[in-house]
């Protein structure tokens, strides 16, 4: 575990991409910033530009038009970037999976590092998902080291 990875893990800046969502997941993501959950405790802040982001949160079903934009965002992001799919829609397509404009789920379009299921997932679940993500990056660097 190097110094670099430690800093990275301690300062994940989050960028929020809302696809064709029902808007419920977006609200739950914003909940994570409220005094009750306050993810700034872990050094996470919501940033407005993808160039500053370390984590790309994707929620909502991804339709044909979102797909183009999601790909563009992913290619614009400075690497390393982690992707988290939030909600049933992001993970599998949820209730929109049968729709004729549906182009997702997210992991068909870009590689996903963590999934947070739920419709919508609770803020606790989202924080839990990000903790898993951090553990995963820890494990990945351990494996690389050995």
């Amino acid at each position: 575990m190097g110094f670099k990875d430690y800093c990275f893990r301690k300062s994940l800046w989050v960028f929020h991409f809302g696809g064709a969502s029902c808007n419920n997941c977006d609200i739950e993501i914003l909940d994570c910033l409220t005094p009750r959950y306050d993810i700034e405790r872990f050094g996470m802040v919501l940033v407005g530009s993808i160039r500053h982001a370390d984590v790309l949160l994707v929620n909502g079903s991804i339709n044909q038009k979102d797909k183009i934009r999601l790909l563009e965002l992913y290619s614009q992001a400075p690497k390393p970037i982690l992707v988290v799919a939030i909600g049933a829609c992001g993970c599998t397509g949820g209730i929109f999976a049968e729709g004729n404009t549906f182009a997702g789920p997210v992991d068909k379009i870009i590689p996903v590092d963590a999934y947070v299921p739920g419709c919508p997932p609770k803020p606790e679940a989202i924080i839990g998902g990000i903790v898993r993500l951090i553990e995963k990056t820890k494990k990945a660097t351990r494996d690389e080291a050995t």
Partner: protein, 310 residues
Amino acid sequence: MAKDLLYYLIFPGFLFTALVGAIFSWIDRKVTAWVQFRKGPPFLQPFYDFFKLLLVKETILPARGSKMTFLFAPLLGLTGAALASMLILLPAIGTKPGFNGDIIVIFYILTIPSLTYIIGALAAGNPLASVGASREMKLIISYELTFLLILAAIIMKAGMTITIHEILAVQTDEGAFIGSISGILLFIAFVFCIQAKLGLVPFDMAEAETEINHGSFIEYSGQAYALIRLTRYMMLFILPAFLCTVLLGGLRTDGIHLLWTVLKTLGILLVLTLIRNTNPRVRIDQAMRFFFIWMNLLVIAAIILDYFNL
């Protein structure tokens, strides 16, 4: 020569200012969190942010923009901030008296970071960055006159000396300048100028996260953005220190005075943070009107009062 380099790079220049500035930035975020009934980030958060950007992240260059200017602008800003810190802190803590006219030089050097933000944003080739740059430019135009008037008033108070060292000597003899009505007016105007110089709410329209997505900094990533963050940390310390030097009687470091110095700078930081947390962002035309009319009037009133020794 070697000693000058030491002053510039370690104390009180680059390294010291960067460290203290990072701590100040943590205090700013922590107090913000308290105001909002949150817990706030851990103590080392500014360092984590900086080293993450510097060591881990990829730096993306703009495809349609001037790459060299884009990369050199943050470096220039950092150099300017380090230079300003050295010129202000050396006489302020009494290590070495400055040269004749250093307060004028400092006035110009303090604009370098803001100018480099503009240059970098215009080199990024992003429309939102251009909007941010144009706002930053208008903001500079509006507060710079006020800032100059404040310095003029301070020079008048100190009996027409343009050396920080002598301004401090006058304050040690006759008490800090803030102890008069004109001093208090100058302090108020100075605090708003700092707020605008640092781009904090209510004058953060050049960055306006929710509106133009970090404006001037939208295209910056990785190392280049790390340097910008560092410049901002440093400015967060330098400007309160400058205010302390010219109005609050300097930053003495001997004995009990050290405690006063720390309390004074922290107090100013607290004022800045509270202003930023209790105000909405104003429009650029409102900011211009605020500085052009109200702040200038305030400073001119202070100058007139000072003429009558109030």
